[in-house]
């Protein structure tokens, strides 16, 4: 038994390095997606202290809008900006209808409100787009669909072009976002709001403008996630569950740290895949990915309550 836990998995890893590489790559790609979703959470949390549970459904909603527009005859490259317009309208509607009346309510109330948004969007989305599994318009958007095959150490390593595109796209998106947050005026305003609400308000930062903006950025991230994930497995409401995968990333990386979300996402993506393949499947009947990330994050939190990159919380009476 001990041998199976502590020795055999590592022997397996070394004896088939190409397979190990493939596992790590798969984990990395999932990790990028987790990081993207987590990033949506972090942005909103940082600027408004709202734990936005609706990020998952926003991914589905954005992807469905894109595909739905295309199905109705809108060319792909026009559907993309149109979808962004829809996401902007959604951000505005959420700010006006939900957030504004709930300013200053306790965290848990706002959290519940985002679950309300989730339910509403699920119903609304299914009513408009129907519940069928849809095909992401990968080719029309110019995303390559082939794959590269390598043979390291006489083995086999398959890298999908769309996964590579996803990774590159995510990196570009994150860099653009960091640049925006750190260099632009609006970006600074967002960060200021995150640091101290009242101080930010008193120097003339408009709360509602920033909130709309932040939800819109979250919408852009959602669309990017939706395209990438949809290209892998089709677009349907079952996608919504991937929101849960971002939660342990948030625990690990800290609710307020952009870099935490990214590093946490990648870490969880890779580690859960390694654990599933080398320990979960042989020893525990598989499907450990549902909980591994949570348990890992739990252990980390026991030692670092603010997460790996979160800001230290100082409490005063």
């Amino acid at each position: 038994m001990l041998n199976q836990i502590f020795v055999k998995p590592f022997v397996d890893m070394v004896s088939a390095p190409d397979f190990l590489l493939q596992v790590v790559w798969e984990g990395l790609v999932s990790g990028v997606l987790y990081a993207l979703i987590a990033l949506g959470f972090v942005l909103i949390y940082k600027s408004s202290r709202i734990f936005n549970f609706a990020q998952g459904i926003m991914v589905v909603f954005a992807a469905l809008t894109l595909v739905g527009l295309h199905e109705n005859g809108v060319p792909a490259l026009l559907a993309l900006p149109l979808t962004l317009v829809v996401m902007y309208l959604l951000a505005m509607a959420i700010e006006r209808v939900v957030l504004r009346p709930l300013v200053n309510q306790p965290d848990i109330i706002l959290f519940m409100a985002t679950i309300g948004i989730t339910l509403f969007l699920v119903g609304f989305g299914e009513l408009i787009f129907g519940g069928e599994n849809k095909v992401m318009i990968t080719e029309q958007l110019g995303i390559p669909t082939g794959s590269y095959t390598f043979e390291p150490w006489g083995g086999l390593l398959i890298l999908e072009q769309k996964d590579i595109t996803a990774v590159i796209g995510a990196i570009v998106l994150v860099l653009a976002l960091l640049l925006f947050l750190n260099r632009s005026k609006m970006g600074r305003a967002i960060r200021a709001l995150g640091d101290d609400h009242q101080a930010a308000l008193s120097v003339g930062i408009s709360l509602s403008t920033i909130w709309v903006l932040v939800w819109f950025i979250a919408g852009i991230i959602a669309l990017a996630t939706g395209i990438v994930w949809g290209a892998r497995a089709g677009v349907s409401f079952a996608l919504e569950v991937i929101a849960y995968k971002a939660l342990p990333v948030l625990m690990l990386g800290g609710l307020e740290s952009v870099s935490g979300a990214i590093i946490g996402g990648l870490m969880i993506g890779i580690l859960e895949k390694l654990f599933e393949i080398y320990w979960g499947q042989p020893l525990m009947g598989g499907n450990t990915e549902t909980w591994f990330a949570f348990v890992l994050a739990l252990f980390v939190l026991l030692f670092r309550p603010q997460g790996l990159f979160g800001e230290r919380i100082i409490e005063r009476v």
């Binding site: 798969e26 794959s147 999908e160 892998r232 497995a233 089709g234 349907s236 079952a238 393949i277 499907n287």
Partner: protein, 439 residues
Amino acid sequence: MIKLTRMAAMATVLAVGTAMYSPAAFAQDSIYVPNLSYRTGPFAATGIPLMNGQRDYVMMLNARDGGVGGVKLDYDECETGYSTEKGVECYEKTKDKAVVTQPWSTGITLQVLPKTNVDKIPILAPGYGFSPMADGKIFQWAFNPPAGYWDAASMILEYLSGGDMASLKGKKIAFLHLDHPYGKEPIPLFEAMAKKYGFTFLPIPVGLKEMQNQSAQWLQIRRERPDNVIMWGWGAMNAGAITEAVKTKYPMDKFIGIWWSGSDDDMLTVGEAGKGYKSISWSQPQPDSQAMADIKKYVIDAGNSLVENPDVDTKKVFYQRGIVISMILVEGIKAAQEHFGVKAVNAEQVRWGLENLDMNAETLAALGATGMVPPFKTSCGNHTGHSGAWMLEWDGAKFVPVSDLLQADQSAIEPLIEQKAKEYAEANAPWPVNNDCKE
């Protein structure tokens, strides 16, 4: 103040109204056939075409013949979203006047199975549900014609072996399944067969949350290098698995799915790349049949169908399977009408009808449905009919049959059905058994 009082008043009315609510009384000028549909949720992709087919066939009969035997069919859907909880709620809601219950998910079937004994309503679960339901002596109220999951498992293995089961010896067969009662159904039979014929059986579960992200499962398949992969998937899981199979370059012709994993819509995601994928099926699309022509004439052209693109969607396997399912139900109703000489049959009479189904070649021809389903016959001891099935293959654009009618090895299935049915009855003692049935 006024606002608050009004709200309070509304709340009270709502509360009292709900407490007093009970389904309205009904008139006996129609036969009520509810369907516990799932057009929403993660499994909607599988559900929608099936429900459309079921609905359109009944609509066609109502429009063409004025129903069955002169009585209109009142087809009604109660949406479950494949959730067991909603399903039971729907069952309770419809059972007062329903002549049949069509639960659709294995989970809901298991839940309502014991209740139907008490409420005396037949369950019709064509090609799904609980395999031991075939034993009509014990499961008096449950029917899963024309073939059960264990039939499917046996036929798939037979197809893989090319007729000689001994050739499976030493092979490794992976079983990719939904981690849900449905996906676990065939495992006992596979295990028994593995022991008997000496192949390695490797179950690979896919969690409900992993349906769209099966990279771990397919990495495992890559590592284990099984000779064949058999899939028991539902809804979004099918498309997920086929995409991953294409990605990992698993040879498509070694990949076989159950009949619920053979939906055209799932394959369209991969298109050409899915060429060679197979699915066993007890139904086959016959777009040129008389039944289809009538549906087009009376329902689709009349604008009464919910199908989005009639030209394409009505040719798909799942839509036409939905038609067959309604056909089986209607034949049961017909048989009951003839036997009892009553027009508006009740649930108990429909039970008799489903137990005495005879879907032979002539009946099918008369229905204009030749080749849509293999001929089969049910009896009091055999609630499945074990019709056999065809192997369909994806040719890049549609499913085409690639085998003759396959038959399951009943000598392996029967003892298992008997054993599991008995176990079930014992675990739920006292369980009513039909001792009059002498088969």
